[in-house]
Amino acid sequence: MKKNLIMFFVTIVPLFAFSLNTYAMSAGYLGIDDYTSVYGSCSYTSGADSPDRAGASYVTNLKNRISNYYTTTYFNTDSSVVEYNIRNASKVDLFVYSGHGIALNSTDNALHCFARSFGNTWHNSSMEAYSDVNAITTDCSFNHNYVLTYACHWLENGTNSQKEANIWNTFGGTRMTLGYASTMYLDSREGDVFGQYLVNYDYTYQNAFWTATQYYQVQRTSGDTIARVMGYQNTMNDTMSSFYTGTIPTYSSSPSSFVYYWTRTIPHTGVNL
């Protein structure tokens, strides 16, 4: 019996030790490429550009790069991404949305879907402000550990204190949100590069994001991209393998412990990479 117990521990302990060294993180991805249909099309464009964006391709590239480390809890693209699912997404370590983001009005920003939550799988220019295509800041309280909004405007406050408070109130247990305070350039290749630095080289989340985005965002033909990371002050140096282990408060319960990590302008060149 004693011998069996010893054998049991000899077998189990190394397995347990191994599991401690394996990062069992989870990720949820929502990405939209298609904003056009034969029934109607979204009107958010850039100049003569099609409203289509490579959001689904971005999350695909990111997932492919990090899936050995982050198990995929959900992966929805195009018309499977609706505002209801954004607001009610189950908690994951890394939550990623990529598609259109809009400065909806003076107090709210929105992650802007093409499909309506409870209706058509499309919308047209007369429906841009509909609540069932916009996951707005005041309706979102995320408890994911890390939120990446690879979309325009989500972190842009427009110097309006109410809009800024609404952005902060999306931190319902979130350690940090990485995103943009301006229009941005959606390049699906950036997902792969962000993933590389996050999992292959163990950069901090914020530094992996900066390393990737400073390279690709220069491609805008006019206007500079403003990248931004905001979050709980103790989680600033979190990496995939080394992170703050204390409890993360909601913003509303501890506003003074949340800070702007940084805001950085990336000058545009208009040259495609």
Binding site: V193, N200, Y201, V218, S256, V259, P267
Partner: protein, 187 residues
Amino acid sequence: MKKLTKKHLAVMSTAFILVCSTIVGVSYHNSSIDKLPELNIPMPGSEIPNIDITNTASYNDLNNEAMVYKFKKINNTISDVENLTNKLGLKGNIKSDDASYFLNDNTVKFGFQKATGNWHVYLQDALNQKPGVVPSEEECKKIAIDYLKEKGLYNERFSNITVASSTGGGNTEATCTVQHPYTHNTI
């Protein structure tokens, strides 16, 4: 010797005309190629030309597609990267995976993307420095250029350096302060 018949003459004339037209066609084709404008790639900082091309020629007999310019894919080798890290004064073994060459420890993070040649280096000592007096924009440019010259990396491509600031640290955007300026070369 056979006498040339009218039939022979007709065949020979047709052949002669065909040969002549081929020669003329080829020389015309070659002279058209000679008239192609020079490849004018905008230099750093210069405006991208607004090209307006009107096609007046008939291309009925040409292929639908033709190669105009070919971009060479440069394969950066490990020795190229070692040359770069030596110039930067980085110590340690460079590792490699499918995407990058990299050097990563507690003091430095260096990454070189194989597909694009894009590289970066973060020096932990520099990042740990507390914000002091922020240099002026011109001083920032000079610091950046002097550093590149000192490392033997400066060339004419660094001719369009812009300066921006990283701000942060506040609970509101209004209370954020400049953490450090950074230079960006818009090649």
